[in-house]
Amino acid sequence: MAQGALRMSRRLRFAPLALLALVIAALIWRLATPGDSNVHSRLEGQPVPQFVLAGAMPGKAALSSSDLATGHPRLVNIFASWCVPCITEVRVLQQLKSQGVIVDGVAVRDRPADVAQFLARNGDPYERIGSDPQSRLQIALGASGVPESFVVDGMGIIRYQHIGPIEESDVSTILAKLHEAK
């Protein structure tokens, strides 16, 4: 009995080593394929929360939830004049607009003069822009950063969330999601 226990403990001696190997393997695996640290909104498939935003700049229509249930799919882009990746994204948004996509904007923590300057400098793809000075709509939508975009169908249901700037390589996905939302 004691001998059996000894044989057992001899085998157990390698248990810590095996455990170490396991931990190292796990570390290497996670370093090689890092997990997705993006926080995805849970509102896909849900209606856009009720909201009313003031206009983000003079001469531009404001945005509220009722503007998003117009029978046509729309792309709601959360952006800001202080957001650097948004500068390159605006160009892609204009390309989408030229392909018939209706793009609405939500300017997060922004001032009217800054928004106007940003659009004058980089181009203006937006049909409407709402101002979200305390990130309230951003939080209500389950968005975690700027820029982010939501495909909203004609009934006002969120169909797709895109995290980060929309790049050239994302255009086909966005167009497909907008088409699905029809």
Partner: protein
């Protein structure tokens, strides 16, 4: 050389670009006048995860979005909403990820079972030890 040094300094200034030009929201860094309400808000804010600095609570984070979330929490508490309702509202949007408070969902079971399992292993090892001692 001097110009180069100044240009290098610009690199240090880059993180500033990630912030807006607006001041923090009203209740971001201000306590509620009612101490009981403020205590409830503090309790909740310590258990909500910041979306920007993902290892911090919104009570600890300096990120602007965390400030806006503190503003949202304090406003709702001041309006009489329960902390559990505010937490549920956020979980509905971001998933249980947003809350530090462990839940009873399936994915959290290992967390609850691990201490019990470790205690059991410890007890088994101790028993083994005692037995060996008596046989010697």
């Amino acid at each position: 050389m001097k110009r180069l040094a100044l240009l290098m300094l610009l690199l240090v200034a880059q993180p500033l670009l990630a912030d807006s030009n607006l001041p923090p929201a009203y209740w971001a860094n201000r306590q509620l006048p009612d101490p009981a309400q403020e205590a409830r808000a503090q309790g909740l804010m310590a258990e909500l995860r910041c979306l920007v600095c993902q290892g911090q609570s919104i009570a600890d984070s300096d990120a602007e979005l965390a400030g806006d979330m503190r503003d949202l929490v304090r406003r709702r508490i001041a309006a009489g909403e329960k902390p559990s309702a505010i937490r549920a509202w956020l979980v509905q949007r971001y998933g249980s990820w947003i809350s530090y408070k462990p839940t009873g969902e399936l994915a959290a079971w290992p967390l609850w079972l691990a201490p019990v399992a470790l205690l059991a292993v410890g007890a088994w090892m101790l028993r083994h030890r005692f037995r060996l001692g008596t046989r010697k």
